[in-house]
C-alpha cells in the first residue's frame, strides 16, 4: 500500500476548510484511506538521521496517508483533494477532454522497429499553459516518483520522462541504438557521455543504480530524439539535461516508454489528468442497471440516488430513463474500473459500508471436519493427557537441521529446497519434526527435568506424483529428555498411542517394533515401528553426536510416526 506525504495546511487550503486530526481520520476511513501518521519533515529527519541533521528541516505538519494500491489517481495532493471534494459533494466530478493546440498540428512521437528488442512501447502527451509553483512542481515530481515505484514496478514496466516542450521541437523519434552510438549530456551533468560511460558512471549512484539492470545487458538501448537530434531521454535511466523542466516551464512534453502498453497508458493518463484539464484520452462510458447495484450491495435505492452516489466517487453518472439503466462515465483517472463490480464498490463506499443493513445468508449447510485434522485434534488432547507438552515449531528450517545434525545426508532427505531464502533458517521445508523439538529443549534447558514434548504437525516431502512435486505428511513426534534415556517412557507412549488408535500389539494385523539401524540413534537402541506390516516410523535413544549438535547435555529418547495410515 503506497503512502503519500502531504502538507496538512496545503491540503486544508485545497479542501477549503480545516479538520481536526480525528475528523480527517474519520473522512479517510469512510473513503477507504488511512491517515497513517501525523508528522513533519523535522521529525522524519530526526528519526532517521539524528537530531543534529534535523535542526534545519521544516516543521510544517505532514499527513502520511495510505492509499489503496489500485488508486493511482490518489497518489498526489491534486488527485486526493479532487477525490475527497467530489465525495463530499463539494465539487463536480471533472470531465477530461483532449484539445488541439491553438496553432499547428499535434505533436508526433515516431516509434522505430529497433525498440522491439528492448522496450517496445511508448505513449506521449503535452500539457499546455501550465503554471508551476514550487509546491505544484514538487507534487508533479513526487507523483512521477510514486508512479515509478508502484505501477511502473521500479521503471521496469514503464518509465516516465517529462520535458520543457519549448526547448525542443517535434516530431520526436523513439528508437534504439547500440550503447556506443549514444552520446548526450544527461540531466544535471556538465559534459556529454556515451551510454556505455553513463552505465558505469551511475553504478555508484544511490538512486539510479537500481534501474541499470533493466537495459544493461541489451544489445541496444532505448533513446528519444527531437527533430534536431537533441536527446530527450534514455529511458528508463535518465533524461537529457537540455529539455529539463523548471518552475518557468509553460508547456510540458510527457513520454512514457514501456514493456506493457496498458500500464503505459494508465501512467500517462495519471500524469496528464492530475495536472491539467486537457487530456489526450477521451473518457469511456459504461451502462449498468441500478438493480445490479442494489442486489450486490444489499440495499434498495432508486436509480437516481445510485447515479448520485457514483457521481460522488468521480464516476459521472445519470439515470438514462430506460428502465433502471445508469450511464457511467469512467474518467481516465480510474484505471481500476475494469468490471461492473468495481462500479458497484464505489456505490457501496458512497452509500457508506457502515450504513448497509447487515443480513444473514440463508443457505443451510452441514459442517464437516477434515478427517486428518479431526484425528489430529483428538490425538493431541490425549497426548497431553499422557503427560507430554505440545510444542509448535516452524515448517521451514536449515538443511543442517534435517541432515548434518541428525547424522544424515541432505540428498537422502527428499526435502523441498527454497531457492531464495533470506537466511539459513529457511533453506528447506522440514522433513521431520525431531529437530524442532530438540531445538525447543535446547532453548528451555533451564526448565526442570524431565522434559516431555510432542508435536503433531506437517512435514513436506518431495513427491513426483503430485502436481506441485511435493506433498505434506502429518507426523507425530515425541521426545523424552532426562538424566537417563528413558527408552521405556517413549516406548510406553507408543503403546498408549496405539491403544488410542485401536491397534493391538501383535505381528501381522497389529503393531510391533523391531531393531533397526539409523544414524540418528545410538547403535543398538533404535527400532522400526511396524503397523499392519508397514513401517510408519522409528523410536530409540538418540546418538550422543546428535545430542551434542543440538547443544544438549542429557540422554534423550524419541519417536516419530506418520499418522495418515491411521485415518
Amino acid at each position: 500500500m503506497p503512502t503519500v506525504g502531504i502538507k496538512r495546511d496545503l491540503l486544508f487550503k485545497a479542501l477549503g476548510r480545516t479538520y481536526t486530526d480525528e475528523e480527517f481520520d474519520e473522512l479517510c476511513f469512510e473513503f477507504g484511506l488511512e491517515l497513517d501518521e501525523i508528522t513533519s519533515e523535522k521529525e522524519i529527519v530526526s528519526r532517521e538521521q539524528g537530531d543534529t541533521k534535523a535542526s534545519d528541516a521544516s516543521d510544517v505538519i505532514l499527513y502520511k496517508i495510505d492509499v489503496p494500491a489500485n488508486r493511482y489517481d490518489l497518489l498526489c495532493l491534486e488527485g486526493l483533494v479532487r477525490g475527497l471534494q467530489v465525495f463530499k459533494n463539494k465539487l463536480e466530478a471533472p470531465r477530461y477532454r483532449r484539445i488541439s493546440p491553438v496553432n499547428g498540428d499535434p505533436q508526433k512521437l515516431i516509434i522505430t522497429k529497433e525498440t522491439a528488442a528492448v522496450r517496445p512501447f511508448a505513449v506521449a502527451a503535452v500539457l499546455r499553459n501550465i503554471t508551476f509553483t514550487q509546491e505544484r512542481y514538487d507534487s508533479f515530481i513526487e507523483l512521477q516518483e510514486k508512479l515509478h515505484q508502484n505501477i511502473c514496478r521500479k521503471r521496469s514496466l514503464v518509465a516516465i520522462g517529462t520535458h520543457d516542450l519549448d526547448t525542443i521541437s517535434g516530431p520526436f523519434t523513439y528508437t534504439a541504438k547500440p550503447p556506443g552510438d549514444i552520446s548526450f549530456k544527461p540531466l544535471n551533468q556538465t559534459k556529454e557521455y556515451t551510454a556505455t560511460e553513463l552505465m558505469s558512471l551511475y553504478k555508484t549512484d544511490s538512486h539510479l543504480r537500481h534501474y541499470l539492470h533493466i537495459i544493461e545487458d541489451k544489445p541496444v538501448y532505448p533513446i528519444i530524439y527531437d527533430s534536431n537530434g537533441i536527446v530527450l531521454s534514455m529511458p528508463p535511466i535518465i533524461n537529457g539535461d537540455h529539455s529539463k523542466i523548471t518552475l518557468q516551464t509553460k508547456n510540458v512534453f510527457i513520454e512514457c516508454t514501456a514493456t506493457d502498453l496498458t500500464k503505459a497508458k494508465i501512467v500517462l493518463d495519471m500524469m496528464v489528468t492530475m495536472f491539467s484539464e486537457y487530456c489526450s484520452q477521451p473518457f469511456t462510458k459504461e451502462k449498468l442497471s441500478g438493480e445490479f447495484i442494489n442486489r450486490k450491495v444489499g440495499i434498495n435505492e432508486s436509480t437516481e440516488k445510485i447515479a448520485q452516489l457514483l457521481t460522488r466517487m468521480c464516476l459521472l453518472s445519470r439515470a438514462t430513463g430506460v428502465g433502471d439503466e445508469i450511464e457511467v462515465e469512467i474518467p481516465p483517472t480510474r484505471s481500476d474500473v475494469i468490471h461492473a463490480c468495481d462500479i458497484m464498490e464505489d456505490a457501496a463506499i458512497a452509500y457508506g459500508f457502515n450504513n448497509i443493513t447487515r443480513t444473514t445468508p440463508r443457505a443451510y449447510t452441514v459442517a464437516n471436519q477434515f478427517p486428518l485434522n479431526k484425528l489430529t485434534e483428538l490425538l493431541r488432547q490425549d497426548l497431553a493427557a499422557a503427560g507430554f507438552t505440545e510444542a509448535l515449531n516452524f515448517a521451514l528450517c536449515s538443511e543442517e537441521d534435517i541432515a548434518d545434525k541428525l547424522g544424515k545426508k541432505i540428498s537422502e532427505t527428499r526435502a523441498a529446497h527454497i531457492s531464495n531464502p533470506k537466511t539459513a533458517e529457511f533453506q528447506v521445508a522440514r522433513t521431520t519434526l525431531l529437530p524442532g523439538l530438540l531445538k525447543t529443549i535446547a532453548a528451555n534447558r533451564k526448565m526442570p527435568l524431565p522434559l516431555k514434548l510432542f508435536e503433531v504437525s506437517d512435514v513436506v516431502l518431495k513427491d513426483e506424483t503430485k502436481d506441485v512435486g511435493a506433498r505434506n505428511s502429518r507426523r507425530f513426534c515425541a521426545v523424552y529428555y532426562n538424566k537417563s534415556p528413558g527408552f521405556e517412557v517413549i516406548h510406553g507412549l507408543l503403546d498408549r498411542t496405539m491403544q488410542l488408535l485401536e491397534v493391538k500389539s501383535a505381528r501381522g494385523e497389529g503393531y510391533h517394533i523391531q531393531a533397526a539401524d539409523d544414524s540418528t540413534f545410538f547403535p543398538g537402541r533404535c527400532a522400526e515401528i511396524i503397523v499392519r506390516g508397514k513401517t510408519v516410523g522409528r523410536l530409540g535413544v538418540l546418538h550422543p553426536d546428535v545430542i551434542n549438535r543440538f547443544e544438549l547435555t542429557m540422554p534423550c529418547s524419541a519417536m516419530e510416526i506418520d499418522i495418515e495410515p491411521f485415518l
Partner: protein
C-alpha cells in the same frame, strides 16, 4: 513437641487458678527454664481453644556478673575493710588484691579506713571504725531474691550506674482457660487413614488443622500449546456456524493457484522474490503438459495464503451441480518477510468462504458480525480497501476498549467475477470471504508481545505450562 509432663502440669495449674497464671511464675515454681513453658503454651495453642494465652511483657531487675559476685562475697569496700588486720596493711599490698583499687576509694569515702603516710616502708592502711554494715550487698541480695520492690528507684539507679544491676524486659504469657479447656489432651492425627475408616476410630480422634495458606502440589501433566488452543476454538466457532473444513495440508502450491487464479497479475509485487519463497528445481508439473499456463504460473512456491486452497475448492465445486457451500480453514502460510517482534516468515491464516446465489455485501457484514460476536467482539466497522481478487474489499476494524481506538482485525471481500467465471461457477453465484491471522488474537489474548515467545523453538515452556484454558468470548 513439648514435654507432655510439663503440658499436663501446666494444665493442672491453669485449672486451679481462677483468673489464669503467668508463664514466668509457673517456670519459677516448677524450677524449669521459661522457654520450656513457652513451648508447652505453643503446642497447646496449636490444638485449638484449650487455652488462651496473652503475650505480655514486664520489666524486672537482674544482677550483673559483678553484682552476683558482690551478693556472694560482699562489696569491694567491705572486702577491703575485712582484709585489713588490726596492725594495718601496706597500701602497696592492698592494691595487689583484685578488689583493692575500687574497694579502697569506696571505703575511704565511707570513712571506714584511714591512711598513715608517715609509716616506714610507705603508706599503711588502718581500720577507722570497729564495725561496718555492707548495705550494697544487702540490697543486691534483696534483688536476687526477687524483692526489688523494697529498693527505691534512686538506689536501683545508683546500682545500675555501678553496673551491678541491669533492667531486663521479660516476655511472658498470661494463660487462662480456653473455650474447650480440658486437663487431658488427646494426640492429634495428621491424616485420615484406611484403618480409621474401617474401625470408625476417626469419630474419637482429633485432626491437626491444615494450613490453607500453603500452595498445593502441582499435578504431573502435559499441556497443549496456547496457539493450538486458540486454533481449536476458532475451528469450533466455524463448525458451530456450519462451515466445512478445507484440506489445507499442501504447503507447496503452484503460482497458478496462489496468484494467477486469484487475478493477481504476473508483475504483481507479491510475486516478487523478496515476498514469496520459491522452490528450487524444475517441478514436474503434470497438469501443464498442454502448455495452458506459462512458465511464471508453473513456478512452485510456499503458499502465501490459504486462499490458494479456497480457489482449488471453488474450482472443484464448479465442476459439479452447484450447491451453496460454507468453507473454512486454519493453517500455515509463508512470506519471505523481514522478521521482527510481530512478523515471522510463517504464520497461521484463518479463512472463511461462503458461496451461494445472490449473496450481498450486507450478507458478508452480517456473517462477519456473527463470527466476531463469537470471539467476544461486537463493535465492528468496515473500511473500503483494495485487494486484487476481491471487489468490494473491506478491512474489518473493531473497537479496542483497552487501547481506546479502532484496530484492524481482519480483511474481507467479495471474490471478483474474473476469478469465479473462468472456474465455471454460475454467473449469479457470489462468493464472500474473510481472513485474519491466528497469531494476533492469540498474542492479545495471552498478553504476549514478542511472537517468538509464542511460535517456534524459542517458546517459553513455562508460559505453555501456565497457560489458562481458552474461551475467546470471555
Amino acid at each position: 513437641m513439648a514435654d507432655s509432663g510439663v503440658v499436663e502440669t501446666l494444665l493442672q495449674r491453669i485449672e486451679k487458678a481462677d483468673d489464669g497464671v503467668d508463664s514466668l511464675n509457673v517456670a519459677a515454681s516448677l524450677g524449669v527454664d521459661h522457654q520450656v513453658i513457652v513451648g508447652a503454651v505453643k503446642s497447646l495453642q496449636a490444638l485449638g481453644d484449650i487455652i488462651s494465652a496473652d503475650l505480655r511483657s514486664s520489666k524486672h531487675w537482674e544482677l550483673t556478673v559483678e553484682g552476683s559476685e558482690i551478693a556472694e562475697q560482699g562489696s569491694h569496700e567491705a572486702r577491703v575493710f575485712s582484709s585489713i588486720p588490726l596492725e594495718g596493711l601496706a597500701q602497696s599490698e592492698l592494691m595487689k588484691l583484685s578488689f583493692g583499687k575500687i574497694g579502697f576509694s569506696k571505703a575511704m569515702s565511707n570513712k571506714w579506713i584511714r591512711v598513715d603516710k608517715t609509716q616506714e616502708g610507705g603508706p599503711r592502711i588502718f581500720r577507722a571504725v570497729e564495725n561496718i554494715e555492707d548495705q550494697v550487698r544487702e540490697k543486691l541480695l534483696q534483688v536476687q531474691k526477687g524483692n526489688f520492690s523494697q529498693l527505691d528507684e534512686k538506689e536501683k539507679n545508683e546500682l545500675k550506674k555501678r553496673k551491678l544491676l541491669s533492667e531486663v524486659t521479660v516476655k511472658s504469657y498470661w494463660i487462662t482457660k480456653g473455650s474447650s479447656f480440658s486437663t487431658t489432651i488427646t494426640k492429634q492425627e495428621t491424616e485420615l487413614t484406611p484403618e480409621m475408616i474401617a474401625t470408625g476410630s476417626w469419630k474419637e480422634k482429633k485432626f491437626k488443622p491444615y494450613n490453607f495458606e500453603a500452595m498445593g502440589v502441582a499435578p504431573d501433566c502435559g499441556h497443549l500449546h496456547p496457539l493450538m488452543k486458540v486454533r481449536t476454538q476458532f475451528r469450533q466457532i466455524f463448525l458451530e456456524m456450519g462451515f466445512t473444513e478445507m484440506p489445507t495440508n499442501n504447503f507447496i502450491e503452484s503460482s497458478f493457484w496462489n496468484f494467477d487464479s486469484l487475478f493477481q497479475p504476473q508483475q504483481h509485487p507479491a510475486r516478487d522474490q523478496h515476498d514469496t519463497f520459491f522452490l528450487s528445481g524444475e517441478a514436474a508439473c503434470l497438469c501443464c503438459s498442454d502448455r495452458r499456463y506459462d512458465k511464471e504460473a508453473q513456478k512452485n512456491i510456499l503458499r502465501t495464503h490459504t486462499t490458494a486452497v479456497s480457489a482449488r475448492m471453488l474450482y472443484k465445486l464448479a465442476q459439479q451441480k452447484f450447491t451453496p457451500v460454507k468453507y473454512f480453514s486454519i493453517d500455515r502460510v509463508f512470506r519471505n518477510e523481514t522478521l521482527d517482534a510481530t512478523h515471522l516468515a510463517e504464520f497461521h491464516q484463518i479463512e472463511g468462504v461462503v458461496a451461494d446465489y445472490g449473496l450481498t455485501l450486507g450478507d458478508l457484514m452480517g456473517i462477519l458480525h456473527q463470527f466476531f460476536t463469537k470471539l467476544g467482539i461486537t463493535k465492528l466497522r468496515f473500511k473500503p480497501a483494495y485487494n486484487p481478487y476481491t471487489e468490494p474489499s473491506m478491512e474489518v476494524f473493531s473497537y479496542h476498549e483497552g487501547l481506546k481506538k479502532w484496530v484492524e482485525v481482519g480483511n474481507s471481500g467479495v471474490f471478483r467475477p474474473e476469478m469465479l467465471l473462468p472456474m465455471g461457477l454460475p454467473e449469479d453465484v457470489s462468493v464472500i470471504a474473510w481472513g485474519l491471522s491466528l497469531e494476533r488474537p492469540t498474542m492479545i489474548k495471552y498478553g504476549i508481545n514478542n511472537i517468538r515467545e509464542l511460535v517456534g523453538h524459542k517458546v517459553n515452556l513455562q508460559m505453555v505450562y501456565d497457560g489458562p484454558i481458552c474461551r475467546l468470548d470471555s
